[in-house]
Subunit: 363 residues, 2 copies
């Protein structure tokens, strides 16, 4: 299913023309996907330094920790959040200022990735009731243990990295974000299987579980550059809106991704009874018979093998993916607009295009 | 089984005579148990302020968080760690110094308790223990996932409290302790079911999982009072040794406690195949037949209902509890000795006696 094709294309009112990686041209606008690649290429040295910091600080005399850490590092991921910290710092002129230490943004980017990885590990923890349903229980219990403890270790490491950095302001931003993430995750758990969840409540959940860390990752870029509050707030807004767009697309992909192509399993959220906008929109727009179906599969968790196909059909017939992606697109536009307080620069344009890219991305 | 009765009594080489709660007399020495009660009474105002801070900062707009938190608060516990922070601060003359804010020790005591509670919540997930202080553990009532997420919330809150306090030194102490705790827990997981674990390795585990936070709780007391490094180090040593003694006794109680009296299930560690000193000592001192038994029940986790009784009998016949408690007593003595850098005071004597009390305590 081609997500990109179903979306309105990004505005191309500015100069047309793609910039290839490494080109210094300041004219033209990248396509969203090229923008993310260009941004990564532009920040390649910093990202490599950040990856080295991640590997170095994942080390521990307890062998299981670097073992598991190596597995996580190997699993990779786009490292989008640390990239945002690095890009935000550069957007604010860091580390080009002569009075600043040269690599604070690198350590803090690693710190942001540690917080993200810790929450991912803890998100993977499942309840024993779920364990009994089919998973190899000894393995799963070992997984729970390792996930919780290594997650705690990474979280503690993140705060050690912040301590090394020495900024109480950064500490406040990232500890506040950490608390908000946990609140978002708990709220998500509380809304699970509950179709009476309002869209506002759902947006609160994704703000907590995703957007808060995006916002913090960007804001600390302005802090290390010692920029005024208006620029901090602008980057916070950019990160928040980008994170909202990112999570909305993620939730859409759970009902729309081409599994073979994108390496994401369709229906994970469905099976868990997770309340996301595709489900809320389909439920809202459904007939009474459709609603009875949703209540059975989501609220009573009574799911037969063919129910996912019916859910996908209902989501398609109600344009629930379209509803979700239009909302994502609004956030992405707001993210780009938030950057308008900064003077025009290649970095600003790239970040703006990255926001647009989030609503096009294959995962 | 009376643990206290099986132990050598504390030295009474100093002045004899018990001080009752509230008495101001500076002569005489409390019995261990009276010492903890006297310490709590002496610090009652601070402890009440700390409890208020705990309740206030456990609040969240996400209802499940204060609900679960209330469950934890109701479960109570002695709040030994925050008590240590408060007592250490007072031992160092805080908050009597006119140039210091009056309540930093209270906020940091709450912070220490948050870190402790977070690790307890995560430990319950890991160990699948059904009883925590005689009540159903939080994960049994709310589920693994809720325990993990609320633990994360409390951990984040702890770092918010540190940020409010504003001391990078405190931040370093408590983030280092947090990383060490996680390492200790992972190391414990790695030694589980492994009878070839050395006593040194076991001591590393309990240093990480318990003593590190005791040490940090005490050290921050010296930091808020702005005392020289020697006093910080002395309180760190006091906390470390106290924590080691505390955990050794805890591990002894798992094979010796009167469940109805103490609210602790005998045999939890046994059933989990946890490697603790009572098991290591009994294994070390056992016959080849005994060792085969231990390998079956601990290494292969093959346990029949009558095996706990046999384990208890072997532990009794090898004096493994005695071995464990003698080691605990050594640490307790070292804890008391560490305080010798401080001038004699009622607080110093009470803390010294509390160390002795740890090896007598019913839980």
């Amino acid at each position: 299913m081609g997500l990109a094709a179903s979306l309105p294309q990004p505005d191309r009112t500015e100069n047309q023309g793609a910039i290839r990686d490494g080109e210094a041209a300041e004219t033209g606008i990248e396509s969203g996907e090229d923008a993310l690649r260009s941004l990564s290429a532009l920040l390649d040295r910093d990202m490599q330094a950040c990856n080295r910091a991640i590997v170095a600080r994942m080390d521990s005399p307890v062998p299981l920790i670097p073992q598991l850490a190596a597995h996580l590092v190997a699993a990779g991921g786009k490292r989008l959040r640390p990239l945002l910290t690095l890009a935000s710092a550069h957007l604010c002129g860091y580390p080009d200022r002569p009075d600043a230490a040269a690599d604070r943004h690198v350590g803090l980017a690693a710190c942001v990735e540690f917080i993200h990885t810790a929450t991912l590990l803890h998100d993977d923890v499942v309840d024993e009731s779920q364990l009994r349903r089919g998973m190899a229980s000894a393995n799963a219990v070992f997984g729970n243990k390792a996930s919780v403890l290594v997650g705690d270790f990474l979280f503690a490491r993140a705060f050690q990295l912040m301590t090394d950095d020495g900024s109480l302001k950064v500490m406040a931003i990232l500890s506040n974000a950490s608390a908000t993430i946990a609140e978002g995750e708990v709220l998500q758990m509380a809304t699970q299987n509950d179709l009476s969840t309002s869209i506002e409540r759902y947006l609160e959940v994704i703000h907590g579980k995703t957007a808060a860390l995006f916002a913090a990752a960007c804001r600390v870029g302005a802090v290390v550059a010692d920029r005024p509050e208006a620029e901090e707030a602008a980057l916070d807004s950019y990160g928040t809106n980008l994170g909202m767009a990112f999570q909305l697309v993620d939730d859409a992909l759970d009902y729309a991704a081409d599994q073979a192509l994108l390496g994401k399993t369709v229906g994970d959220d469905f099976r868990e009874g997770k309340i996301t906008l595709p489900v809320l929109a389909a439920y809202e727009a459904g007939s009474e018979e459709d609603r009875q179906f949703w209540r059975r599969v989501i609220e009573q968790s009574e799911q037969a093998p063919e129910d996912l196909d019916r859910a996908l059909a209902l989501i398609a017939s109600t344009d629930a993916i379209g509803t979700t992606l239009r909302r994502a697109r609004e956030y992405a536009e707001r993210a780009r607009e938030a950057l308008s307080v900064f003077p025009d620069s290649r970095m600003r344009r790239l970040l703006g295009e990255v926001a647009i890219y989030t609503v096009h991305r294959p995962r």
